[in-house]
Symmetry: C2
């Protein structure tokens, strides 16, 4: 199994172009594309091969509105933890596309799955949720390669979302995702473009022992 230089360059370009998107067009994603993304997610790495990701597609308009209202309220509340001199900038950010994006997917970790036989999760039980993150990133990159943007909404109360969506007791929310066609494209993260947070030099995050 070999990958050529052209593919590696394209992959680097995809990694650089990925983006977290909050501005979507409402046009639907073809069902075959959505299924293709969820099928690829199943190939993500997972601790003990436990595959603990659980994707819940939100198709009820009432549930979508309840989620968007909840996130708006949490965004207001979380604003109290933002430094006072940054609150105006915070209030101006658009932080989710839950009302517009054609596909809303809540992603849970099944903390009680028997798959994997507990391998690797005894010392670091958080690796189960980490596995779910790996599946989400798989969807993210495959979606972007298909021109479909993804936005990860994390300003939520995970327990509230679990109750709203009536999932089994052992499922813990990892992410609420918006998927759809982006309104516009940019190589620069929106938070960087708006002056919220610049890219750091990668060398500053690497050290040796």
């Amino acid at each position: 199994m070999r990958f050529d230089t052209a593919f590696r360059e394209e992959l680097a370009r995809l990694i650089g172009w990925r983006r977290d998107v909050r501005r979507f067009r409402t046009k639907a994603i073809p069902e075959s594309e959505v299924q293709n993304l969820l099928r690829l997610a199943q190939l993500a790495p997972s601790v003990g091969n436990a595959q603990p990701w659980r994707f819940v597609r939100v198709r009820s308009p009432a549930l979508r509105t309840a989620l968007a209202d909840h996130v708006d309220a949490e965004i207001s509340r979380a604003g109290e933890a933002i430094a006072p001199d940054r609150r105006d900038a915070y209030a101006a950010l658009k932080l989710h596309g839950l009302r517009e994006a054609p596909e809303i997917v809540a992603v849970f970790c099944d903390e009680e799955t028997v798959a994997g036989g507990g391998l690797g999760a005894a010392t670091m039980p958080e690796t189960r949720a980490y596995s779910v993150v790996l599946a989400i990133h798989t969807v993210w990159l495959a979606a972007r390669a298909a021109g479909i943007a993804l936005g990860w909404v994390s300003i939520v109360d995970p327990a509230h979302v679990a109750r709203l969506l009536d999932v089994p007791a052992g499922w813990r929310l990892v992410a609420l995702l918006c998927l759809g066609w982006p309104e516009d494209e940019s190589e620069m993260p929106e938070l960087e473009r708006l002056g919220w947070q610049d890219r750091l030099d990668w060398r500053a995050n690497v050290s040796s022992r």
Copy 2:
């Protein structure tokens, strides 16, 4: 920014071929490749664009041995939590390549970073560690595209590794990684090949509301 069908097919092949590898050749990875992977990691998504990943390259032979000894001890201890009828299978698994892999990287989350201004991390502080997982997956895919295999070691005591590597107090271990040239290649996860855990049907992990 468009990606063609050929690229998308190659990306799907990469996702399917990625593997978690524990059997490495000792031959070194060129330094430029290692740096290229860490540079790409910096382009991963992160909550509030906080970029909280901290990569620590373990180059001291004494620290490498101390890590390998620690993981061996934790693997024995974690065996007690494995179902009795699976303990022989567990004992037969090779779970890390810490003694052979040419590059060992411990990846931490800086829980006290001021980058990102706390955006998105007030309601779900675990999204900081999730961001680190996204950076690791970025390295994983880019490495595999270059023929370099990665193994994620999670049977460790995170606090012990942090002490061994003498990292700042606010850093939490997310993963201990082995990187190197794989001894052999397989499309099937080692845990599946050895009968530990099969792939599940992706449809079983998807539902709608």
